[in-house]
Amino acid sequence: MKSHRSLILLSIVALLSAVAPRAAAQATDWQQITIPPLPAFHPQQPKRFELPNGMVVFLQEDHELPIIDGTARIRSGSRSEPANKVGMLDMYGEVWRTGGTKAQTGDQLDDYLEIRAAKVETGSTVDSTTVSWSCLKGDFDDVFKAFNGVLREPEFRADKLDLAQKEMYDAISRRNDDVGAIAVRESTKLAYGANNPYAREAEYATVAAVTREDLVDWHHTHVHPNNIILGIVGDFDSAAMEAKLRQIFGDWPKGPAVKEDRIEFQPAKPGYYLIPKEDVNQSSIRMTELGIRRDNPDYYAAQVFNEAFGGGFSSRLFKSIRTQQGLAYGVGAGIGAAFDHQGIVRVSMSTKSATTVESIQALYKEIDGLAQNPISDDEIKRAKDSILNSFVFNFDSPEKVLHERMAYEFYGYPADYLERYRAGIEKVGKEDVARAATKYLHKEKLAVLVVGNTADFDKPLDSLGPVTKVDISIPPPPGEKGANEEGPATSVREAEAANN
């Protein structure tokens, strides 16, 4: 395949040098430079097969380096954990590995793997859990054995659950230390609702409620071959690997399919939300409302809009807010989209305390500007060029191709989704972008969150409208009432009182 491709390239180069002597003189203007067509590139697709027990496998050969990596993605994640045990999947994702297997404790596994410079790791996300490995080719059998042990016979030993709980406690205690992290977390709660499974957060009480039995039960309920997508990439022979996998997983019976509850969204009322923080000189501003799903027909138009309005260096917001007004280092916006639920529309920036209100108004001006001065044909062309000319970077490594395919499989999207995406972007016109902007970004529907040092604001936030204070003080661990009274949480509450 490679030699074929470079043959095409060679002939193109030969053709060009015959037509235009492009190597002879150097250009004095970038527009004088000829851009030859990109040679046709058909990235290698992974081999897909389904085992009789329902496990879906993707094999992607890549012989560049003597490495074999793999990931098993299992359906269901933290969005399905009980509300009184939020944080359970975070702990599951850790103790699954650290708690060891029937054959080896977690510590023994650590020694076994590290001496081979290999990794087997587990994790969890909102909608799935994963077991993955990375190893040198020569260690594959040893490491795959450890992977399979973790996947099928984990022990969730209690000492490691205790350790994971301590680490969760630590993370909770530190969650108000960084202004950016506060802004992301709290604005997500405003967009989805504080108790929504995509937004809610672990508390000391919900972490303390998790038992070893919970982790064991979760594993028994979810880890069945028919809920698993396995992807392997690296220096192996697909036929031999397929035979091996069929043999190893052949005896694993099907289990019940995963059931997931419908998830409700309760976005906060539009308006202003304030979290005072005394120890900063920069405000974090985050405006949010509910976004769209990736299977929405407006998705392509929204992507072009995002690129033109709040994406890269040449977007409207970057140009106006950063380059021309010098108000921010970080500024961006976009109509967020997720595969199987609504994403979040976000407009966000950080600015010095003394330009907080000025910046909110500057962002409003850009949003209002979309009606009077819609994204132009020129801007749309640039946005589309940017997306389409960089399209090749979606599949410039076998590993990326594998991960894309695994995602489409997981969410039930067509295998040729990337091609459809390209075609979708190509078709987007001016009316589509204007429609997407009007349909999904509404100034009057935004929940506007400001985290900052209110004493130094240019104007009080309530000069813009009624303000709701958000209490981010951390509820103390069960049985330790008021343990935090001397800590930072108190200062936050005091700051609120002082600024009322």
Partner: protein
Amino acid sequence: MNCRSLKSFAIVLILAALAAAQDMASFEKRTTVKKLDNGLTVVICERPEAPVFSFFTHVDAGSVQDPLGETGLAHMFEHMAFKGTDKIGTTNYPAEKVALEKVEQTYAAYIAERDKPVGRDEQKLKDLEKAWKDAVAEANKYVKPNEFPQIVEINGGEDLNANTSDDETNYFYSFPENRLELWAYLESERFLHPVMREFYKERNVVIEERRMRVDSNPIGRLLEQFTTAAFQAHPYHRPTIGWMSDLNSFSATDAKQFFDKYYIPSNMVVTVVGDVKAEETMPVVEKYFDRIPSRPKPDERTTTEPPQNAERRVVLQEMSQPLYLEGYHRPDYRSPDDAVYDAIADLMSNGRTSRLYRALVRDKKIAADSAGFTGLPGNKYPHLFAFYAFPLPGHKPEEMADAIHVEIEKLKNEEISDEELKMIKTRAKANLIRSLGSNEGLANNLALYQARYDDWRELFRSVDRIDKVSKADIRRVANQTFVPTNRTAGIIETKTAAADQEGGAQ
């Protein structure tokens, strides 16, 4: 460890060593180096995996080169390198040039009045400030904002960015392979005809970056105070982002002077990695980059940090959870012991078998995370080997210090085990192999090693150096380095309610 795994382990080691050697041989075949007439070094590495390429422009100047009173200038210039040229980003360069000269004259007059030690005339200052801002507005009339990055983006540029450290400045992005000549034009023009347009607005952007990374972040505040305390003579003393007063003072003229002095071809390495052929690509790169005029090497003398002979401590009272950090002076990257420090960092920090994880996190259960690392704040000059720990709720930074010191004493007094030493060496080889699979990572590494050692092959030889590290080396270097008088400690303590009230009176 039982017999069987020992045996299979030996096989792994041999496999890994073989793989590393094969890689070196394979890279010899597809890597071409050329020093152009003007002194600029070009490294081209053929990696025909997909029709794309990545590049790195490595400039051997960072914030260590910032002039006195102008901290942050190297980083400021890096921002200015996105502002375009005399042909890109302007509607009328001759007129803009005149307008920009006016901006500099009016700014100099304004600063002269602003910084008068005595007899400052406030009315005059206001008038001068207005004259400067009017001149800025006039110059802005000719600007096509962000045209340079826009050309990169519309042509499919990916991961367009740059970074400035104490040691060096890097510029990078990736392109589809049919944009090679466009890239060569853009990247060379950027360093042939940079224009300091929109300088003072961009300075505000950089000040916002400082607020974000340092002023509004407790760990950022600690790191700045810590590094400043650890280095008293060498320029590592000064923050890369710059002190606020310097940021509010330096000019576009200063930035251009910095560029003229340090952005010289012999200070630059350009690497191109991807689906390119050296025989076709080198002439294109040479054609464009050889235009950059060669200039004499700047005076590179810097003060050598004198030996530290008393422990230093920086304690910050913050409205955040505690943190413990300590650092010990060590020699620069050319030290024959460089690989020994790498081995110590790996032993102490890498993964769940690491000594600090096992001691502080797993066994004592006093920390959420703990590790040691080298290269703070850079590594081109003598720098720090640092350790840190995040205490679990209810535990104090002092406990972290004690527990870390117990582990350090073990390093000094006991030999590490055979298994540990083998683990370090296997991991170094495996990590090298894993780092070879991306254009961007390779472009970065080849540029760095070529710049630092004048030979990209050192990337591969660094693994051989780790392979030669002995147990005695680790004890010797630990005893040499980790002594209390050579230590700077940086601590975040959580502000108590009482301390809060004292501070609240202002």
